[in-house]
């Protein structure tokens, strides 16, 4: 049966309560009549034979690239880079797409007699992956073949001996990336393109870059002018990455780009109700929801967190394309929109969203308040093309417990950022000017990033900058059910219930506002016209 496309529901009297994520819980909220609820398209059908599709893509590249086997020869230096633990969300059931793709690449390399092969996790300034996470992404066979010999590495943006400055763009942007990758005869980059902003020149120009390079586009000015991240031609972030990517290509780095898209089959069958439209819930869905919600209500948050982070998504591969970066990415982006795009007419006064337990930066970790803000205002707010779902001066209502809690090993600088920086100012421009440099160069953060599993010291700044467009655009941000102190620290307003939040929003948008709800999961992209 053909998957149904996305859909915008107008709430009427017969509409049942709508499911909202609330961290490690769910709640059902009855929305005012006339509200709109945006549902994603149903998951596309999986490719029947993913490995065959991958081989086909490698042998039939897009754009100005020869087939991969023709690029491989004995004695060459081959570097295979891959997206890190931040993709996909939740982590997918084994075998991971990265494993499937890299196995095919390695088979072709072996057939061609290539024996200088290094794998690099393209971390940028993210935390280093654990052995378990690497094994999950690559499979035990690849891990055992490479890791013990030091041939499976993780990009270190603070290792001066393994960075190379390739030049400066015409806009003055330093392009400094991983030396092994840049000096290889061929750089193969394996992407998982969960959303439209992933991939393209951003893969290498960001994933393998240093702080000196990243700061040119990860800053408040660029973020405010990225409208949105999901629409590359309108994204200053992507424009900067494209400039850098072309400079990388012009400097002689040969990249063979592989991009994959997954369907939105996000949760296992026991959470099937999450993917269905509420009025179509079966008796079994209702019973499962009630049992799950009741169990979660009685489960300590820490235990619930462990349970949710153990979930592996049944994502399936729906497209794979390979070849020259820009040609590949154009097709990939179209495929992402095919899976996630929903046409939406006009903006709204109030945009509501239920935020889940996971974001790209807290896989197997804690969703701290800064990540809550980033997920809501940096990601969900930006799930649009054309114009924001919410009008300028409108209100976003987030639904999340927003605990004042941090993972000390993964997010050490976040703790200080939350305590010291946000207590002083929440203005991204002021924050960048006053605090960024000292956090970015703090030797202890650098040490933890390089030797532990900590995000780089500057990373919480980037999370806050992701929110810059939304903070610039919105009249108010309200968090339902959040820790009041944590919510206020970020300059947002806490509300105990959705009704309270709507009452509070009326101060900004009047007493008869329009309301739109982004229904997730699965992820969707709103084409707002």
């Amino acid at each position: 049966m053909t998957p149904r496309p996305g859909f915008v529901l107008e709430v009427d009297r017969s509409t049942p309560p709508i499911l909202f994520w609330h961290g490690e819980r769910f709640v059902l909220e009855r929305l005012p009549e006339g509200s709109r609820v945006i549902y994603a398209p149903e998951p596309l059908s999986a490719l029947d034979d993913p490995s065959a599709a991958i081989r086909h893509a490698l042998r039939n590249p897009l754009g100005d690239r020869a087939p991969l086997p023709a690029l491989l020869r004995p004695g060459m230096r081959l570097t295979i880079c891959f997206d890190d633990v931040s993709l996909p969300l939740p982590p997918m059931q084994a075998p991971d797409v990265r494993q499937l793709v890299i196995e095919e690449v390695l088979d072709m390399a072996a057939s061609a007699g290539v024996d200088d092969v290094v794998l690099i996790a393209a971390l940028a300034l993210h935390r280093r992956m654990t052995e378990a996470e690497l094994r999950h992404a690559l499979g035990d066979r690849i891990y055992e073949a490479f890791a013990p010999h030091g041939l499976l590495t993780q990009h270190d943006a603070e290792d001066p001996d393994n960075l190379v400055h390739l030049g400066t763009t015409d806009k003055g942007e330093d392009v400094e990336i991983n030396k092994r990758a840049a000096t290889s005869d061929l750089l193969v980059y394996v992407n998982i393109n969960l959303v439209a902003m992933d991939g393209g020149h951003k893969s290498v120009a960001t994933g393998l870059a240093s702080y000196q390079s990243l700061r040119h586009h990860h800053n408040p000015r660029t973020m405010v002018h990225s409208r949105s991240f999901m629409d590359a031609p309108s994204s200053e972030l992507h424009t900067s990455n494209w400039r850098m990517g072309r400079l990388i290509a012009d400097s002689g780095v040969k990249i063979f780009q592989i991009e994959t898209t997954l369907n939105t089959d996000t949760f296992p069958s026991q959470f099937g109700f999450l993917q269905r439209r509420e009025w179509e819930w079966s008796l079994r869905d209702r019973a499962t929801y009630m049992a799950t919600a009741a169990a979660l209500d009685r489960t300590p948050p820490r235990v619930a967190r462990q349970v949710f982070h153990s979930i592996r998504a049944p994502h399936a591969l729906v497209s794979v394309q390979a070849g020259e970066v820009e040609a590949v990415h154009a097709v990939t982006t179209a495929n992402v929109w095919r899976q996630q795009g929903v046409e939406v007419r006009g903006q709204t006064d109030i945009l509501t969203m239920g935020l889940p337990y996971i974001s790209p930066y807290n896989v197997n970790s804690i969703m701290n308040p800064i990540l809550v803000a980033c997920l809501g205002l940096g990601y969900f707010f930006n799930l649009y093309r054309g114009m924001p779902l919410v009008r300028e001066g409108g209100v976003v209502i987030l639904h999340h417990p927003t605990p004042w809690e941090f993972h000390p090993g993964h997010h050490p600088s976040y703790i200080d950022f939350f305590e010291d920086v946000l207590s002083d100012t929440t203005d991204p421009v002021e924050i960048a000017k006053t605090y960024e440099e000292s956090y970015a160069t703090d030797p202890w953060y650098v040490h933890l990033y390089r030797t532990g599993h900590a995000y780089h010291g500057v990373h919480p700044f980037y999370m806050w900058y992701w929110c810059a467009h939304a903070l610039d655009h919105l009249g108010r941000v309200i968090v339902v059910g959040g820790d009041p102190a944590a919510v206020r620290r970020m300059g947002f307003s806490p509300a105990t219930s959705l009704d309270d939040a709507l009452e509070m929003a009326s101060d900004v948008v009047g007493r008869s506002p329009s309301l739109t709800h982004i229904h997730t999961p699965p992820l969707l992209l709103a084409d707002v016209r």
């Binding site: 090993g409 305590e419 207590s423 030797p443 202890w444």
Partner: protein, 424 residues
């Protein structure tokens, strides 16, 4: 006349110690402190005068005594029975030196050589360093470190008054309220501690604890450094457990005030230190850290925390009164940290070769910040059990300084009476 009298009574002392397990100040009802009819103390000799207390504070050392937590070190430095109360503003009943009768005075309670009639004075007293008196416990007075621990002098928790040597008295400027004035003694302790730290310009300074002493240290540093009397720190961080303490610390001049659990992190950030283990965690320590830490708590935990965030060769100044503690001093040894005691007051270095009395500086600090605002609640001595309990839980109950109000007619404008028993 009623006075609160602390008697040597071992069963009550034991009962107090047991009750204080439930919380500081809980032992007041069963301990050796009793409200009794007493006569005014005799004048010990020439140069002594009577003082009628107006307001008298409850100090952390008073609480330690009432809780039975004081070190046995002090056993020979007190005499029983005594009337507690060494933070005192009162009215002078007869002339004392150049101070005329009827003036409000603040008591400098240390009983040094002059008060004890010892001639010639010891070297410390000759230099004005009363807190370091080498004849303490001798002379014509019964033993007692200070007024408030001496059987011969009376104390501030009394309507019967106390006696004070003229060298112990400081006239109160007219523009200072009684509440401001009662803060002078604890601020003098804090001021002396600041001088004991030998601050240097640009140093990172930490004040751990934001009760009366901690806040007074913050106020003293900000006032004295702004007037060039001590070096100006580059950053002044306060570790304050409660929101009202954090607010006050920042109002008084702290660069930042954070929860003590986050203090090591804040110090690490500002000092550019690395860390062994997570900052603030058990066993965690900074490799660098603050130049100076003022420990205004005086517990094993606070000393341990101070040692974990002071830099090698830094200074930890013990301002809060410690007792017998179990502390791992390995970091002190390995990092060559100077652990500096800071008791009471006396004289501090001023311009080259001169000194200034600590109390004179304390008056400046109190006036600059109007520190009477730290007086959060006042009680009549008849409600001493509630008062002591309130003082023992001051931070948790949103208070800083709790005092006894001994004024015959309430002249206070801005300090609410503590609610009466019916209201509690």
């Amino acid at each position: 006349m009623k006075a609160l009298v602390f008697e040597r009574n071992l069963p009550r002392f034991a009962a107090s110690r047991v009750a204080s397990v439930l919380g500081s100040g809980r032992g007041a009802a069963v301990g050796p402190l009793r409200l009794l009819e007493t006569d005014p103390p005799e004048l010990p000799g020439d140069g002594w005068a009577r003082v009628s207390p107006l307001v008298s504070g409850i100090c952390g050392s008073d609480l330690a005594t009432l809780d039975g937590r004081s070190s046995r070190y002090f056993e020979h430095l007190v005499s029983f029975p005594f009337v507690p109360g060494h933070e005192v503003v009162g009215v002078l009943e007869s002339p004392a030196g150049s101070i005329e009768a009827g003036r409000r005075v603040v008591l400098e309670p240390v009983l040094g050589c002059a008060a004890r009639g010892i001639e010639p004075p010891c070297g410390a007293c000759a230099d004005g360093l009363l807190g370091n008196c080498e004849r303490i416990g001798f002379g014509h007075l019964a033993p007692g470190l200070q007024t408030g621990y001496c059987a011969d002098t009376g104390g501030g928790w009394s309507r019967a008054g106390l006696v004070a040597h003229r060298t112990q008295l400081h006239p109160v400027p007219e523009d200072l309220s009684d509440e401001d004035a009662v803060m002078v003694e604890p601020v003098a302790c804090a001021t002396h501690a600041v001088f004991r730290a030998s601050l240097r310009d640009g140093e990172t300074v930490v004040v751990l604890g934001a009760g009366t002493l901690g806040l007074a240290v913050v106020a003293a540093i900000s006032t004295l450094s702004s007037r060039g009397r001590v070096a100006a720190p580059g950053a002044l961080l306060a570790g304050a457990k409660y929101p009202h303490q954090r607010r006050l610390a920042e109002e008084l001049g702290a660069t930042a005030a954070v929860d003590p659990a986050q203090l090591a992190r804040a110090v690490r950030r500002r000092s550019g230190s690395l860390a062994i283990g997570a900052p603030g965690s058990a066993g965690g320590a900074l490799t660098g850290g603050a130049d100076v830490v003022f420990d205004c708590v005086g517990s094993a935990d606070s000393i341990t925390q101070s040692l974990a965030m002071v830099r090698p060769r830094g200074r930890v100044v013990l301002v809060g009164m410690p007792g017998r503690l179990h502390v791992d001093l390995a970091p002190l040894w390995q990092r060559e940290v100077a652990l500096v005691g800071a008791y009471a007051y006396g004289a501090e270095p001023a311009e080259t070769g001169t000194t200034v009395r600590t109390f004179d500086l304390a008056f400046e600090v109190v006036a600059a910040h109007r520190l009477g605002r730290l007086v959060s609640a006042s009680y009549p001595i008849e409600r001493f059990e509630e008062a002591v309990q309130h003082a023992g839980a001051a931070g948790r109950r949103g208070a800083v300084k709790v005092v006894f109000d001994l004024r015959p007619t309430r002249a206070r404008a801005d300090v609410p009476d503590a609610p009466g028993p019916d209201a509690q």
